[in-house]
């Protein structure tokens, strides 16, 4: 029987690892991620996860290195981090993707320093954008559990073989209790078959070299033929990532058949989009709050809906073109900044809709950095303001902020700039 437990977001991730019977976990403490691995270590030491190794390493960089290596031995692996801890892993993020190892990593999102802040902010997640990982988001604790299982299923698909992130808001989800259905192991096994590995260092019949040096123009080596080049490896990564979109959708379809829960089409979720003329586009905590803003605005007679992105990489541009095709205005709320340009979601969406024949006006706002609260009233106000603007596309570089307290905090303008 599946059991319903009252779990914090971090513990929901830990239970998903238990359900997936991960073989190896390595992690380093950082707020707000730490309870994920504390829980796993508890499972391991209580004998509830026989066959799982839990390694306490001396840094995040060691954690990711250790799980990559363990993955190459054919083990299902897990790690988790936040903010600067995740940033410290960066050296090895493209390595995990480049070696095509299905590592799964949970991000309890948190603001990047400096200055220090331990509260939620999506900058850490989006800074990983170009590392070649699949990136998925969760809006509640059940979704964290479900997304971790899905992440393994997709990452380990032989047509994908890429690492995957499951990101959720630090504190807002990581430390908040919600009921979570923990599934029967038989059902989980049905959804998530055992890992079949493309590199298996425990197969001693074949000698393998992981991460070899590649040449810009590999020469003909006579009887040994050509070795693949860096360019080709990276090409295959890109194609697999593109292809993973359909794998994610298929996995999600099967997930909903087996467990009876679904999240839109697996790559984005909608709320009251059926008759919407205006749409909010957001992720994670901001998307969750936006649902209330939709209801609030609908009471005022504005036909608003929400598109909450579930998968950021691969970016589902076709899907977004389709869902926004009859929408006049999209208002994007980013809890990070693509510094020097604008909110990442905002410019990614603009790029995706560039080819669309009916382009909506897209207005972006920056909200809630460093954990500052963002309320549905503020989101609603942002939407209303955007609707009064003539054409928001005219000045695309300008970033507008909601919730700044420059005057109250006496944040003084320096001479010649901020």
């Amino acid at each position: 029987m599946p059991s319903i437990k009252l779990l914090k977001g971090n513990h929901a991730a830990a239970y998903a690892c238990k359900s997936a019977r991960v073989g190896m976990v390595a992690a380093y403490p950082i707020t707000p991620q730490s309870p994920v691995v504390e829980k796993i270590s508890e499972f391991v030491e209580a004998g509830e996860l026989p066959g799982t190794e839990f390694v306490k390493v001396e840094s995040e960089q060691s954690a990711i290195a250790a799980v990559i290596a363990a993955s190459a031995t054919g083990s299902r692996v897990f790690t988790a981090s936040s903010a600067n801890g995740l940033a410290y892993m960066h050296e090895l993020l493209p390595w995990a993707a480049g070696t095509r190892l299905p590592v799964v990593l949970c991000i309890a999102s948190r603001a990047l320093a400096a200055p220090w802040s331990v509260w939620t902010d999506h900058a850490d997640v989006f800074a990983t954008r170009d590392c070649g990982w699949i990136t998925m988001f969760a809006e509640n604790n059940q979704e964290i559990y479900d997304t971790v299982l899905t992440a393994y299923r997709v990452a380990e698909d032989p047509n994908v073989y890429l690492p995957a992130f499951c990101a959720y808001d630090g504190y807002i989800l990581s430390h908040t209790l919600m009921p979570v259905q923990v599934e029967d192991i038989e059902k989980v096994d049905q959804f998530l078959p055992p890992l079949k590995h493309h590199i298996n260092l425990t197969d001693f019949e074949h000698v393998k070299g992981v991460g070899p040096v590649t040449l810009p123009d590999p020469p003909d080596r006579g009887e040994y033929g050509y070795a693949p080049g860096y360019f080709e490896f990276r090409f295959s990564m890109q194609r697999s990532l593109e292809h993973s979109l359909s794998v994610i959708k298929q996995a999600h379809k099967e997930f909903s058949e087996i467990f009876g829960r679904s999240y839109g089409n697996g790559v984005y979720k909608t709320y009251k989009m059926e008759d919407a003329e205006v749409a909010i586009f957001a992720v994670m905590s901001v998307a969750a709050e936006s649902r209330l803003a939709v209801d609030f605005l609908r009471e005022k007679g504005i036909k608003v809906g929400l598109v909450s992105l579930k998968v950021f990489r691969p970016f589902p541009s076709e899907d977004l073109r389709e869902i926004f095709k009859d929408i006049s205005n999209v208002v994007v709320f980013d809890r990070e900044i693509g510094y020097g340009w604008e909110g990442v979601l905002s410019y990614e969406l603009k790029a995706a809709l560039y080819k669309s024949s009916t382009q909506p006006d897209i207005k972006g706002y920056i909200v809630g950095l460093g954990g500052r609260d963002i309320t549905y009233q503020q989101i609603a106000k942002g939407v209303q303001t955007a609707l009064t603007m003539e054409s928001v596309n005219e000045n695309p570089i300008q970033t507008d902020f909601i919730g700044l307290q420059l005057d109250k905090l006496q944040f003084l303008k320096r001479e010649g700039g901020y």
């Binding site: 380093y28 403490p29 504390e38 001396e58 801890g85």
Partner: protein
């Protein structure tokens, strides 16, 4: 100033003699009641005063963790750096500003774990840095995970059945890597700690002082040492003072003796000395015409 209010004597916080060394607006601090970090910070300030180093010439660098918060509270130029990176920041500061007294105040998790690589290299180079490393035997700020100084059998959130790994012996590590001043004290040894801090501050080269801290919140209560006082009593009962002992013999074990004292004090050219020598050599090289 002490003023009388009803039946109890309370300290007038505004008049504390060390107040000017704390950064206005940053107090109250976040440290738990019963934590030894408050008294250790007091000793740091007193030692700085006693060393007669101009406060304007001092820079405090810290990493992440409970101890790392000290940089934010002390009213000197400060850097609250990333986790583990206090020492490279300190090296950068010291090299470009050799007249500065660069002090690193950070925890065992920061200095010996994620920053361990930097510790061994800063010691090897005999960089002109004073390190006050508060060892609370685990990662306190993140809630009490096992760390590289946790002893065998220690209970923490990631070792609910007792730690199985050998801990670092920090004085031995620093000494073997080339630190030229090494000592260890417990949080109870405030008087000796202060003398040692002054020596370390005035020492030329890499000075490393380990302070065994009392952390009731995430260490003590999991290890039958439920409050700060109990930990200090435990330290008192286990402490043996042995100046000059080979720090290799000062490993900490569960319930074993805690050896404190000054273990190393030698003179060697420092990183700054060597860099200045290099500059001089470079100046003396006659360009070939």
């Amino acid at each position: 100033m002490i003023k009388k209010e009803s039946n109890s004597m309370i300290l007038d916080a505004e008049a504390h003699p060390l107040d000017s060394y704390l950064r206005p607006g940053r107090i109250p601090h976040i440290w738990c009641s019963g934590c030894s970090l408050g008294s250790i910070t007091t000793v740091v300030i007193e030692a700085i005063i006693e060393s007669e180093i101009d406060p304007k010439n001092i820079a405090i660098v810290s990493g992440i963790g409970c101890t790392g918060r000290a940089a934010g509270y002390l009213n000197f130029d400060s850097f609250h750096t990333t986790h583990g990176r206090a020492l490279p920041f300190a090296i950068g500061l010291g090299i470009t500003d050799p007249n500065r007294k660069v002090i690193v105040i950070s925890g065992d998790g920061d200095i010996a774990s994620i920053g361990g690589n930097h510790l061994i290299h800063a010691a090897r180079r005999n960089a002109d840095i004073t390190v006050f490393c508060v060892n609370n035997f685990q990662y306190g700020m993140t809630g009490g995970q096992v760390g590289p100084t946790s002893y065998i059998g220690q209970y923490q959130t990631t070792s609910p059945y007792g730690n199985i790994e050998e801990p670092f012996n920090l004085p031995a590590l620093a000494a073997s890597c080339g630190a030229t001043y090494v000592s260890r004290w417990t949080a109870l040894d405030v008087r000796r700690m202060k003398e040692s801090f002054v020596e370390a501050l005035l020492h030329k080269g890499f000075s490393f002082v380990e302070i065994l801290g009392a952390c009731p919140t995430t260490y003590g209560r999991r290890n039958q040492l439920r409050d700060g006082l109990t930990i200090l009593e435990n330290f008192k009962n286990r402490t043996i003072l042995q100046h000059g002992i080979d720090p290799m013999k000062a490993q900490i074990q569960k319930d074993g003796p805690i050896i404190v004292g000054k273990f190393v004090e030698i003179q060697k050219p420092t990183l700054t000395d060597n860099l200045l020598r290099l500059h001089k050599m470079a100046k003396n090289v006659k360009p070939e015409l």
